[in-house]
Symmetry: C2
Subunit: 466 residues, 2 copies
């Protein structure tokens, strides 16, 4: 079996690279014994001389030495089972953040009996030892990956069991329902109806309503995890690129105040008031319009289709109210469920008042100057407010995990069959089968029901050392 | 003043990037008080409820919360002055390795009264508080940057005071010498010669011999820090690139066994048995030879001049013993102090025995097949042995720091003047001046004598958080 729980595992738990400090983590039955080998305490206190003797949650200063060669001076944290992250004996060795030293220390622990940990194996052990359920364990990875206040809060809530308790409630309700059905089943020959059919239908309705609400929350959850897709569309001279740069640069300046938080690889994302927006670049569209206009337009429509918010940007100086009306009419059929934000640019040229008079029929219109950074905050507030209306229940449980939503969808399908069965008065045996299936799907979310393959596919997405 | 010792400083101490664990470090009078604010202990033990109450070297589990929003669940290590790295109160907060969480926690500590640490400021405080001398502090940075067994050992020895004790010995000898001279000075009018001139000369000779030895060790020290420069030269068809790839790829495979140790940016370095070799690329030379041969040859000669070792690689299948002799005669004047290693390639074509007979006059010659990876280990052993002969005293103190060697050179110059003065029988006053200058230079190495500018220039080269 790939995941042998009896092994003691080791991994670097901090990020790679040279740094002041690095942490090497051990977990397993032999973690403290392995860490004790080649360790020489430099503590003045006798009670801190041996790692195997110290109290849990104690730090020991000392050095690792191999054949008279000092590998490093270290601080060792000792955690005794079951009061550790994994629920097993655990050790965290804090050493100098030199890749060479890290390699030598890990080699030492490997030769003293540990093996390299698989991705997420520490957290998987925490799950297998009952420290976390599966959805909580998955939230740990989400928490580490979180890059906005909202995604951070959702992951934190899930890690602390918010989502799990919702699922537990659903399961309890469903078990209650199943027991009523099965009771009826036991006495079916006596033709006794313990469960009032109307009450049963009411109960299944309330359960499916809850599940549906969770499924619906995934739309928001997905947006939280991956950002709200926003398309900026408009004619070439409208100032799209300038606006995009203004929005992004501004954001970058904020996030890079503290060294190392700049996310170089994220090109077109920005976080406003803790909400992540992801801009779908329409820059490529412009160039193709010169060749075959229709291709460009089609591409723009595709972008719009993928967006939750469409910013229609136009040059307020060039387009009249009548022109705008025509353009918006052409755009309207493609917008679908997306939210439209109409933005008049270049108030530096014409003046805000003049434009407000011209476009008096559009009370929601935002007037900006991308060039002179005027009213950019209005636009940002508007974007954030659109997110708020889409997520009235942001404090509620939000599903962000595709695996969870798939389980919920399958549970829901099974319950729809149960409902149909109730309507058609089919026998309890068949109802019970679908109920059991729904229970199993809900159990898979929190890991009450699980298979090794599932665990492997979940935890391999984790980083090493977690 | 830029370095205010009364502030409490904060910085991320682990490498940047998403990871299982990150460490945020605080040091200063208020470190524990600042860490206590917004901290909520989740320990079952009452004695671990408040960071301000816990014993030194204790870990506390809890969470940081700001207005009901949990920033993260953390493990906090508490170190009380003077038993900490810096000698001040210290706190290390172990949080989830999410850049977002790191940013939020640092912001929290800043708003609670800490300020961002400058590069190396933790280690500088350790120095200012007498935990380390200056050369030991500098060795901390070298230790983190070390990437080979030898550079690691030299930095470790220096960090643990090996070099400092040598300098102390020199200073003690010099002070002893100075006191003899000054005693003579005090009684100069009585024409008493307390110090036997011959003994004085012997003492200064032994001191300067020691200093000279340290200065000489810098040649090796520099090589340890930056790698031993090796040029592979030879005709285009000799197989230089193949050999280089074989040497480098082989090494890369070894270092990348443990994730994260692969050094992508290092293109032409390899570590053999703990010794770093740095190849000076001669690939560029080949292309220019086609145009104006002389430019190419000149460039090759420049490369050779910079190298400690020159590998002359030739195609054993194509070149006769007589040809080789001519070629080596052309090469010889340019080799200077470099060590020459003659390597016959392509034994896969001709056979090792045939070639050994052909080149019987060259007992040191190495016969390889770069293509079929034959005898590559012989070549590696040869390279390592050349390093060994250059550093018979590798266990001795080795100077790796340019600042230190410059101080030693200046001290040596001053002592040469003293020596000259002794020979010319000049008055003690003038001798004392030069002795004092030499003492000052030696004191600058360990920081017994220092100026703020020096500290700034040393510690700004450190990473943040160390």
């Amino acid at each position: 079996m790939k995941f042998n729980k009896n092994d003691t595992i080791v991994a670097l738990a901090t990020a790679h690279g040279s740094s002041a400090i690095a942490i090497i983590r051990l977990s397993g039955n032999d973690a403290i014994n392995i860490a004790e080998k080649n360790f020489y305490s430099k503590s003045k206190s006798n009670s801190l001389k041996k790692l195997t003797d110290v109290k849990s949650y104690t730090l020991c200063f000392g050095e690792y030495k191999l054949n008279d060669t000092i590998i490093d001076e270290v601080l060792v944290s000792v955690f005794k089972a079951p009061n550790s992250y994994t629920g097993e004996h655990g050790v965290e060795v804090s050493c100098h953040g030199s890749p060479f030293i890290i390699q030598k220390l890990i080699e030492l622990f490997l030769s003293n009996g540990a093996r390299m940990a698989n991705n997420g194996e520490f957290t998987m052990r925490a799950f297998l030892n009952g420290k976390l359920d599966l959805s909580q364990a998955e939230a740990v990875a989400d928490l580490i990956a979180s890059n906005s206040a909202v995604s951070h809060q959702v992951a934190m809530q899930q890690m602390r069991g918010g989502f799990s308790s919702k699922i537990k409630l659903l399961r309890d309700n469903l078990i209650n329902f199943a027991s009523l059905i099965e009771l009826e089943l036991d006495f079916s020959e006596e033709d006794v109806e313990f469960a009032n059919r109307t009450d049963l239908k009411k109960l299944i309705d309330s359960i499916t309503t809850l599940i549906q609400k969770l499924i619906n929350s995934f739309e928001v959850g997905n947006v939280i995890k991956n950002g709200i897709p926003v398309a900026i569309v408009g004619k070439p001279n409208a100032g799209k690129s300038t606006l995009l740069n203004v929005l992004l640069d501004d954001d970058r300046a904020i996030v890079s105040e503290i060294p190392g938080t700049t996310r170089d690889t994220i090109e077109d994302e920005m976080i406003i008031e803790g909400v992540m927006f992801r801009f779908i670049d329409t820059a490529g569209i412009r160039t193709t319009t010169d060749i075959i206009e229709q291709i460009g337009v089609n591409k723009a429509f595709e972008v719009i289709k993928k967006s939750a918010i469409v910013i229609y940007l136009f040059d307020g100086h060039e387009i009249s109210s009548g022109d705008l009306k025509l353009e918006l009419e052409l755009l309207q059929p493609h917008i679908g469920n997306s939210q439209l934000v109409i933005v008049a640019n270049k108030i530096d040229v014409e003046g805000e008042d003049t434009l407000q008079k011209e476009f008096v029929e559009y009370p929601e219109m935002i007037f900006i100057s991308a060039k002179e950074l005027k009213n950019i905050n209005h636009l940002k507030e508007k974007l954030v407010s659109l997110f708020d209306t889409r997520t009235v229940e942001v404090t509620d449980t939000i599903v962000t995990n595709a695996r969870h939503v798939n389980s919920l969808i399958r549970a829901n399908e099974a319950l729809q069959k149960v409902k149909q069965g109730l309507d058609e008065n089919i026998v309890g045996d068949l109802l019970a089968l679908d109920i059991r299936y729904a229970l199993q799907e809900l159990g898979a979310i929190t890991g009450e029901v699980h298979v090794d393959d599932l665990l492997e596919s979940i935890f391999t997405k984790f980083c090493i050392g977690k």
